[in-house]
């Protein structure tokens, strides 16, 4: 059963078009991530799903209902906000109970639910405190508790971890994932953090300027980005983009890579898709981990190391290809020091090629 379907939704404020035709459909129990740079319309889309804003055109379906004309409270959803949005004058217990009171849940049942939620999120000891007496992480927990108390068919999270410090963010991320495994409720989760997107999502929608750039599983998005924007947005450090021209040699289509005065023709996979486009200006996309340090000179290029950035398990090596700064993720054992030369062999089986003009992926 479809849990959420967004059909050709647009949103304009006066003459500014914020959302330009969004189509998304996910199944029950899936974890959908909306990711994109700030200002791209993620929160606007979220508010439309919640019913806090009306779409200019298009339809929103939750479960098997078309909800365009259904008030937020009747959509059977719960939402967690970036600023937590706790009611400042109420203590934690009252915060959680407020929605249930409005819905007329009997007192006794309310208490049971509060106890269950507090136990699930380990916040029994916080129930009598006011939001101002809580730390950021605790407020976050209360905001989640308030959503859990509703037991909705759809959870909406709008950048719930953005206000936390790095360590807490990672902890809460894991906790949210565990919670999803346990509850199996459908979740729509907004973030501008691509790592959060990759680690949490079953499905990711990458947005830019109110348009979905790509919608797919994390692996699809990572390995087969639809365009230059998606490729650069997902992955850290970012994919290397090397400008070159399509060439043909010995019946194979490939590109020429140069470094330190040495040029080498490397054949491309999926050459079939590139047939007949020889001479075209393209951008070759190679992720940092798609470089290997090798000793022999076959299919490899000598590159001068500019800078190294050890991260512990790997070392990022900054060097140049085709006159462009690139980054290679090497085993610390293979990484040379600045000024030294390392022979890099690109793994072309996972290489992607973008049209230099339209920026869409060719192969």
């Amino acid at each position: 059963m479809g849990a959420l379907a967004i059909k050709n939704v647009t949103k304009s404020f006066g003459d500014t078009h914020i959302l330009k035709g969004i189509d998304i459909e996910i199944d029950s129990g899936q974890f959908l991530i909306l990711v994109g740079p700030s200002g791209c319309g993620k929160s606007t889309l979220m508010n439309i799903i919640a019913g806090l804003e009306a779409p200019t055109t298009g339809e929103v379906h939750i479960g098997d209902r078309m909800v365009n004309n259904i008030a937020p409270k009747d959509r059977d959803i719960a939402m967690v906000f970036q600023s937590y949005a706790l009611y400042p004058t109420m203590n934690v217990r009252q915060n959680i109970a407020f929605g249930m009171e409005t819905r007329g849940v009997p007192k006794k049942e309310q208490e049971e639910i509060i106890a269950r939620v507090a136990k699930m999120l380990q916040m029994d000891h916080l129930l009598d405190r006011k939001p101002s007496q809580l730390s950021g992480g605790q407020r976050q927990r209360v905001a989640m508790g308030r959503a859990l108390a509703r037991d909705p068919i759809l959870f909406l999270f709008d950048e719930p971890l953005s206000n936390l410090d790095a360590k807490l963010r990672v902890e809460m991320r894991t906790e949210i994932k565990q919670l999803h495994h346990r509850l199996k409720t459908t979740i729509v989760y907004v973030t501008h953090d691509q790592i959060e997107a990759m680690t949490l999502g079953d499905k990711i929608a990458v947005m830019k300027d109110g348009v979905i750039q790509q919608f797919g599983s994390p692996q699809e998005i990572y390995e087969q980005p639809a365009n230059l924007f998606v490729a650069s947005f997902i992955g850290s450090p970012s994919m290397n983009f090397i400008p070159c021209h399509l060439a043909e040699q010995a019946g194979q289509i490939g590109v020429s890579l140069q470094s330190e005065g040495e040029a080498r023709f490397v054949p491309l996979p999926n050459a079939a898709k590139l047939a007949g486009q020889v001479g075209k200006k393209v951008i070759l996309g190679l992720r940092p981990e798609q470089f290997d340090a090798v000793e022999n000179s076959e299919n490899s290029l000598a590159c001068k190391v500019h800078l190294t950035e050890p991260t512990g398990p790997d070392t990022m090596v900054l060097t140049q290809l085709n006159g462009i700064e690139i980054c290679a993720r090497l085993h610390p054992r293979d990484a040379k020091g600045p000024g030294e030369t390392v022979r890099l062999k690109p793994d072309m089986t996972k290489a992607v090629v973008f049209d230099a003009e339209t920026e869409t992926r060719l192969a």
Binding site: L52, K73, S83, A85, P88, M90, G99, R146
Partner: protein
């Protein structure tokens, strides 16, 4: 200022300049506020009449004050005016703020219109309303000219009702100010709190009543303080609007004090009434200041 860890290069000037700069205003405050409060307190225990004298008279002036019908009229008027003015300005101001908070068009213009009366002095307000409420000049005459000859609105010259005209003019002047204070408070409330409450299913009145207005408690108390202060000190508005009249029907303690001390040659009596007013204000302000100071020290 001069903490023991202060670096040695801070010389004489650095240490004394702040004190030197503050000294004149400190001295002036000391003399013209606390000095005169003390002097007024002393005068209230003397038999001063037209001019200050130093004949100790004990509590005579207070006995005289409490026996005077005009004083009790003034006190009663203060309660009527204070209660209606504070309650009314608060209610109208909050209502206007909530209405303006609904993201309506032309909000800027409306806000200015409501706030504008605050830019006028009470004298101007009082005079303008005196003309408007004057049966021979203003509203009543207008209605008569339009043909509603049965219409009467003579509160200004009716000794039972004249204090209420002061309330009307006071509300007109101050409601916009209350609105501005509450609007600022409302704007300070995180939008997503309201969204969360909407998803929780609360109606707009319930959101305001249960979540937003309770969060504006500090604004409420500051506004209450300011309004009470205006109410107790109200002098110019009454003088310009009714002059305390008809007779002394719309006297308030401040006009009473002025009349006694400066026009009727009863300086001791005036001083006693001034002391009573000071005590009333102190009874309200001191606990407030105390709680505020304690809160900021705990924070």
């Amino acid at each position: 200022m001069s903490s023991p860890t202060q670096p040695a290069q801070y010389g004489f000037a650095e240490r004394w300049l702040p004190r030197l700069v503050l000294a004149p205003s400190f001295l002036l405050t000391l003399i013209f506020i606390y000095g005169f409060i003390t002097w007024n307190g002393y005068l209230s225990f003397t038999s001063s009449r037209l001019l200050p004298s130093f004949n100790w008279a004990g509590l005579t002036q207070y006995h005289a004050l409490f026996a005077l019908e005009r004083w009790w009229v003034a006190v009663k008027n203060l309660f009527i005016f204070g209660g209606l003015f504070i309650g009314g300005a608060m209610a109208i101001g909050i209502a206007l703020a909530i209405l303006l908070d609904q993201k309506i068009r032309a909000e800027g213009a409306l806000r200015t219109i409501y706030l504008y009366p605050m830019a006028l002095s009470f004298i101007v307000t009082g005079t303008a309303w005196k003309w408007m409420l004057n049966p021979g000049l203003g509203l009543e005459k207008l209605m008569h000219d339009w043909g509603f000859t049965n219409f009467t609105f003579d509160w200004l010259v009716n000794s039972d009702m004249s204090i209420y005209t002061v309330v009307i003019a006071g509300l007109w002047q101050s409601s916009g100010f209350v609105m501005a204070l509450f609007l600022a408070g409302l704007r300070g409330i995180d939008d997503s709190i309201i969204k969360a409450a909407q998803i929780d299913g609360a109606s707009l009145p319930r959101i305001y009543w249960k979540i937003i207005l309770p969060a504006l408690r500090p604004v409420f108390f500051s506004t209450l303080m300011i309004l009470s202060h205006i109410a107790i000190k109200s002098f110019d508005l009454v003088v310009a609007l009714t002059g305390g009249g008809p007779g002394f029907a719309s006297d308030v303690p401040a006009t009473f004090m002025y009349a006694m001390a400066f026009t009727r040659g009863q300086m001791g009596l005036g001083a006693a009434s001034a002391t009573m007013m000071l005590m009333t204000v102190a009874a309200m302000v001191v606990p407030y200041l105390y709680s505020e100071l304690r809160r900021s020290r705990n924070a």
